[in-house]
Symmetry: C2
Subunit: 376 residues, 2 copies
């Protein structure tokens, strides 16, 4: 395998405590120059955690670069997919790290999508009460969402992300070359969060996405630029609110319904398997667009409906809104009894709303269902 | 059951971020006045985590006081003993909290000894990425050691405390009345950490412990005063070094050998069952006293040998020092390859030593073994 050239297109410094850099470009998994993964990891013993799919494509490249930089690398490969975000896999990784001789001076490097990042991050947060953590997100979703924010965690049988820690990485290395091997559906899934950041704070993203120049095979610098804008939106919000006490809740735009849809579809109600996160958030964005319009905020339902058509989500397959209510009530943003929804007053101006009535939710749901018959 | 009177003898403010109070006195588990547990917990839904022994004595009292203060209390009782510090129990508690409807606005209250405190603290740190945590330590060991420092965690099959988080409590309430129901052996165990704090930074503790006035049935204010001095030593060290980067390592005095002894005894080598933590630390203190004396530091071996006799630890039952070496190498204070030992230059003056040779360790071990034949 020949190592690709290294080019850093974007560098973002995330101003949490302590601050850390996000490098975005190409050739960053291989080579050992500034901004490559082998260079940003300063510890001598690295636990490279990946999943079967990603490891098959990229683990050799990263391990070789780490070796070239004089570091010891031990690989841990988990099954691809959400079930690896379990207490069982978490415990197995921790035990294997003990057996491999890791001490507090080692580092955990996540190479993969959101599942690997969340799981490996929680392992890093927990192993001997915390070791250094680095992220190489390889899916678009992980690049624009999970790689910034410090949220790590695993699932319980009772629901997603119910266990975890806030644990900031020391650095994030985004190699957009890895998007070339991503399934097309996953590229569209990831675009949902990228688009959400546009809605929240950067209208320039919405000028390009969706659009003729926004393609999985677009030039690396075009992808790096759009990913960089999206990461910057999230980085700015997270830096202002590291522990999710206030403004950070805006990132939850579209997610209240999405989490309920995902949880519902996990309970064997869905003939095509669990609803992917991006699909669920796409529906969630259109749902809150209807809620916002009905409240008299700017009506963005047309724009967002067009975007949801581009995403082509799987069918909703929810028999009745009442079936979702128990899952909505379980959302962990549901603090002290009041359910908070994020709505857009207009593009770039999110707001928190805690007084939505069930009849408002039901009307938005009816509109969403009527539209999904045309998009699915 | 009649509620005892409330009296606060000592209040210590632990200057971590954010700071929190430690109340020490009597009648603090019952009643609803300032400094009692029902008063310091400000959240409305409380997960009361305890073990079978402690719950039988005190859970009703605490639950009643919380109810009197208008709070909802859900009880979670785990088996008494170290095996509850497992991933399995951790996962079970988290799932039960979901089922009980806890959201991020709830609180975890640990009522018990070190096992309950470590486990409940890690549950609090992990549940929905962290909820409010309160501690009511009921063993002397937990009062003077585990209740201050923010260390939480569980064990792996490979070793103790290998998984966890730093998670500071919002408040600690130490009701010395609970010491009356503590088994005498556990009172002696806890005294080892209290004594260690005297060695590290407060010689006044050593004037009273051991001694004729230091008894489990001593007046509450006498016990509260000594416990307060010990807590203050630890609180001062922790506040200066919250994340265990430097000075906090001094608290490890006696613990390097102790952890190895405990791990060794857990591997079915010990005919009387695993060596209790306090016994292990007592041996560890005498071991490092020999190392210090051999290095030319103040010779405190006589004083510490007398103390170890008072503790009456279980026999060592280690066939050969070589059998301990793999366990010593696994110690998590073992950073980047260098094993660090805490030695006393003299009372009140600890120092870190990283260049101890195996022959020095073996000589101190030989001295310890020769002495334990007389103490056991």
């Amino acid at each position: 395998m020949s190592a690709p050239d290294t080019r850093i297109d974007v560098r973002i410094d995330v101003a949490v405590t302590p601050p850390y850099p996000v490098y975005i470009g190409s050739g960053l998994l291989a080579n050992t120059v500034a901004g490559t993964v082998a260079e940003v990891v300063t510890e001598q013993h690295v636990a490279l955690i990946s999943d079967e799919h990603v490891a098959a494509h990229y683990a050799d490249r990263v391990a070789q670069a780490l070796a070239d930089a004089g570091k010891r690398c031990t690989r841990f490969v988990v099954a691809s997919g959400e079930p690896s975000k379990s207490l069982a896999t978490f415990g197995r990784l921790l035990s294997e790290m003990v057996e491999a001789g890791f001490d507090r001076g080692g580092a955990v490097l996540a190479l993969g999508g959101g599942v690997v990042g969340d799981l490996a991050g929680y392992v890093a947060a927990s192993y001997m009460r915390g070791v250094a953590f680095y992220q190489c997100p390889t899916s678009l979703l992980a690049m624009v969402d999970a790689s910034v924010g410090g949220k790590t965690g695993i699932n319980l049988p009772e629901g997603k992300n119910l266990v975890g820690a806030f644990w900031q990485p020391r650095a994030v290395v985004i190699d957009v070359d890895t998007l070339r091997t991503l399934p097309a559906a996953e590229f569209r899934q990831g675009t949902v969060e990228l688009y959400k950041h546009g809605l929240l704070a950067d209208a320039s993203i919405l000028e390009h996405v969706p659009g003729p120049d926004y393609r999985q095979d677009a030039p690396s610098d075009v992808l790096a630029d759009l990913i960089g804008r999206s990461v910057r939106v999230k980085a700015d919000i997270v830096a202002a609110d590291e522990r999710e006490q206030g403004r950070r809740a805006f990132l939850n735009l579209g997610h209240t319904l999405a989490h309920a849809l995902e949880a519902y579809s996990h309970q064997d109600h869905h003939p095509h398997g669990p609803l992917p996160h991006g699909d669920a958030v796409a529906y969630g964005l259109l749902f809150v667009a209807h809620l916002a319009a009905a409240r008299g905020y700017a009506d963005e339902t047309d724009r967002i409906r067009d975007f949801v058509r581009w995403v082509s989500p799987r069918p909703l397959n929810v028999s009745d809104f009442g079936a979702l209510l128990p899952y909505l009530a379980r959302d962990k943003k549901h603090v002290g009894g009041a359910q908070r929804w994020v709505l857009l007053e207009h593009i770039g101006q999110p707001t928190l709303v805690s007084d939505l009535r069930e009849d408002e939710l039901r009307r938005a749901w009816a509109a969403l269902v009527a539209e999904t018959e045309t998009v699915s």
